[in-house]
């Protein structure tokens, strides 16, 4: 099944969820829960917390599906944003479970098998982000990618990459501003 078919089926299912159709939520769950559970687990680093948050995520989808606008966001991006925000909020509210292994810039290699995952739908968007990231210093792009995937604060990232807090803030902030200019073009 093509990427566009996946996307329009998910858009259709979300439209039905917005109409209060419980069975459609089951379709959304069937097609996206493994991806979203992976996202929650990566941030929370704790299966039982991740399971709790996954429940919150789909309850949010159930209640807020009508606010999803397919003209402004892809369905997977919208769902991933909910999963990340819920996970990070939970992480900030609790002390444990934080991912704190040291990050080595050289370790960050993209796995082509994962990139080809069935839910990858915005190939163009992905290429553009990667092209823009290549214009940053490697340590800047490493810090930005780790922040997104692991949900670390500036303080935690500074500790993981063994640099002073001020240095980390300035890497990421300058990196984000540069990234924005590039992504906007």
């Amino acid at each position: 099944m093509g990427v566009e078919d996946n996307r329009s089926q998910l858009v259709a299912a979300l439209a039905r969820v917005a109409g209060g159709e419980r069975a459609a939520l089951q379709i959304v769950y069937r097609d996206t829960s493994a991806k979203l559970f992976g996202v929650c687990l990566r941030i929370l680093n704790d299966r039982s917390e991740a399971e709790d948050v996954l429940q919150e995520v789909y309850l949010t989808v159930w209640r807020k599906a009508s606010s999803f606008d397919p003209a402004r966001a892809s369905p997977v991006t919208w769902l991933v944003a909910i999963a990340r925000n819920r996970s990070i909020d939970r992480l900030r509210a609790t002390a444990g479970g934080r991912r704190m292994e040291a990050i080595e810039a050289a370790e960050e290699v993209r796995d082509p098998a994962l990139v080809a995952s069935e839910l990858v739908e915005a190939a163009q968007e992905s290429t553009r982000l990667n092209l823009c990231l290549e214009q940053l210093e490697p340590r800047q792009s490493t810090a930005i990618r780790s922040a997104f995937l692991d949900g670390n604060t500036y303080e935690e990232l500074a500790e993981r990459m063994k640099v002073p807090l001020g240095t980390m803030k300035s890497w990421i902030r300058r990196g984000l501003l540069k990234l924005r200019d590039c992504l906007e073009r």
Binding site: S8, Q9, V11, A12, L14, A15, R16, A18, G19, G20, E21, A23, A24, L25, Q26, Y29, S33, A34, K35, F37, G38, V39, R42, E51, L54, Q55, Y58, L59, W62, S66, S67, P70, A71, R72, A73, S74, A81, R84, I88, D89, R92, D111, L114, V115, S117, L119, V120, A122, E125, S126, L129, R145, A147, L149, N152, T153, I172, R173, L179, L183
Partner: protein, 236 residues
């Protein structure tokens, strides 16, 4: 929040939106950002910009199947019918939907009286009927399929805001993608001839949805704008 901002403030705002999406903010700053999104449109758009662009990082996260109990728990939370008692649950839900649909049909009939021009009156006996609810839970349209499933009459059940965009009606058979049924006109009843290839797909599992589209309808053939109302067909 329409005060003019200095370029420096604008840059600080943009940075905060990016930091929020990236996830580097602490609990307090996150709450401030979330609060701000509810009333500051420019800030919310900036957050949406980053969510869409950075979201592709998540491609690198390997899917992990959640345990089966996660779905059971969710199904209980949204009160999906218990699979051990399908008949009773189905009957309950049909009764609920039927009364809801009849109520909505009465509202629709009442609003018909207020219309200055009624192009085509709805079929007197509907084989299938759908109430298309808006996000606020209020019925926005009522759709009735005629007895031989060759046409559909759509009646607005509520006054909708004046939006310059077109409204497009979609038919979504269970497990299939949306099929366009063409544009509908807010404020009056319209009859739509169903394409022959779809007449066999009109079953109680089929959903109808209305989306906002550019003039002339969605360019892609699939819904491209927000869905403003949707609902399922049911037998009366």
């Amino acid at each position: 929040m329409t005060d003019p901002r200095t370029p420096a403030q604008e840059e600080a705002d943009k940075l905060m939106a990016a930091e929020y999406v990236l996830g580097v903010l602490g609990a307090e700053d996150r709450r401030a950002a979330q609060q701000r999104m509810t009333h500051d449109q420019a800030f919310a758009s900036e957050v949406a910009f980053w969510e869409e662009r950075l979201g592709v990082f998540a491609d690198a996260v390997a899917p992990v199947a959640p345990p089966d109990r996660a779905w059971s728990r969710l199904a209980r939370a949204i009160r999906l019918p218990d699979p051990s008692k399908p008949r009773e649950s189905l009957w309950q839900s049909l009764t609920f939907w039927r009364s809801f649909a009849i109520g909505a049909a009465v509202i629709a009939a009442a609003s018909l009286g207020a219309l200055t021009f009624i192009e085509i009156a709805p079929a007197p006996r509907a084989a299938l009927l759908a109430t298309l609810g808006a996000a606020n839970g209020q019925p926005a349209f009522v759709a009735a399929v005629n007895a031989d499933s060759t046409s559909l009459t759509v009646v607005p059940a509520a006054l909708l805001t004046q939006d310059p965009r077109a409204m497009e009606l979609w038919l979504i058979p269970a497990g299939d993608k949306p099929h366009s049924l063409g544009l509908i006109v807010p404020g009056r009843a319209v009859r739509i001839e169903l394409p022959r290839e779809l007449t066999g797909r009109i079953t109680p599992d089929t959903a109808l949805a209305v989306s906002m589209e550019p003039p002339g309808g969605s360019p892609s053939g699939q819904p491209s704008g927000p869905v403003i109302a949707s609902g399922k067909l049911m037998r009366l």
